[in-house]
């Protein structure tokens, strides 16, 4: 039996790093790797006229609204582009209902679960860390919004999970995961971070 190796298994170590001394542990940034999420890309074909709004996955309905995220406690639908979504969920078995409800005559469904590295950052300085490598105006990024952009040249998806305190989930191609992790942790040293 083979065991799964996470995207950041060789670089992510726990502990406190950077300028953490003399600071309250709760004020430090928290950086973690998120594993075992179901990540599915759903794209509706251009010639399809099927009303996607009626499709229900885990109690959620797709919304073709720029930067929007539709979510519940387990599942999030991230808008990736016109009629293009990224479905992210803790429920791995959701793939069955996704494949069942998004028929291949109208949708291209691709399971990307094993092709992404996922980093979560939490803390009041999250946006400052992101600003160091990404020229997007993060003051306009609110809770439950997501963007695709680049961080030090690495393409990534940023999902704003919460704003009190700020919490983001970063998705990058698995092969760029270690580079992104180094970029993010380098940028976080100034604030001090707790790697969990």
């Amino acid at each position: 039996m083979s065991s799964l190796v996470s995207a950041l298994a060789y670089v992510h170590t726990t502990g406190q790093f950077g300028d953490y001394e003399g600071k309250n542990e709760n004020d430090l940034l928290k950086i973690s790797e998120n594993k075992n999420l179901l990540i599915v890309q759903v794209v509706q074909y251009k010639n399809s006229t099927l009303p996607f709004q009626s499709i229900d996955i885990d109690g959620l309905k797709l919304k073709n609204e720029p930067l929007s995220v539709v979510s519940n406690n387990d599942t999030r639908f991230l808008w990736n582009g016109p009629k293009n979504w990224l479905l992210v969920s803790n429920k791995k078995d959701l793939i069955k209902s996704i494949l069942d409800k998004f028929k291949d005559t109208d949708f291209a469904v691709t399971d990307l679960s094993h092709s992404r590295a996922i980093i979560e950052i939490e803390g009041q300085d999250v946006k400052e860390v992101l600003k160091k490598g990404c020229p997007f105006n993060f003051d306009s990024l609110e809770k439950n919004k997501s963007i695709n952009s680049t961080y030090n040249g690495i393409a990534l998806t940023i999902d704003m999970l919460d704003d009190n305190p700020n919490k983001v989930r970063l998705f990058a191609l698995r092969s760029f995961g270690e580079s992104l992790y180094h970029s993010i942790t380098d940028a976080s040293l100034e604030y001090g971070f707790n790697s969990v």
Binding site: N80, N84, P135, N148
Partner: protein, 89 residues
């Protein structure tokens, strides 16, 4: 930094985009007899204007959509952006 307003995502840095050439070039109609010169003009010959220019860009690190951008090639000022399927008056 140069910013381009993507008609789908909003204002984004130019580094997220990839230049795709002149947007005013139209492909010759299908099944129409055309001369070698017309093919040559469609495939290779460009005007390289100084001034207002309609260009194709792809939001490669964003929504991955092709868009049209009206830009001044001498000042880099961007006047308007459109979806790729939008007709520009």
């Amino acid at each position: 930094m140069l910013y381009i307003k993507c008609p789908h995502c909003g204002m984004r840095p130019q580094t997220e985009f990839s230049y795709g050439g002149d947007a005013s070039v139209k492909r010759p109609e299908l099944n129409k007899d055309i001369s070698d010169q017309e093919w040559d003009d469609f495939v290779y010959n460009r005007k390289s204007l100084r001034g207002k220019h309609l260009e194709l860009w792809q939001h490669i690190s964003g929504c991955r959509q092709w868009i049209k951008v009206e830009r001044d090639t001498s000042t880099h000022e961007i006047f308007r952006t459109f979806r790729a399927d939008e007709e520009v008056a």
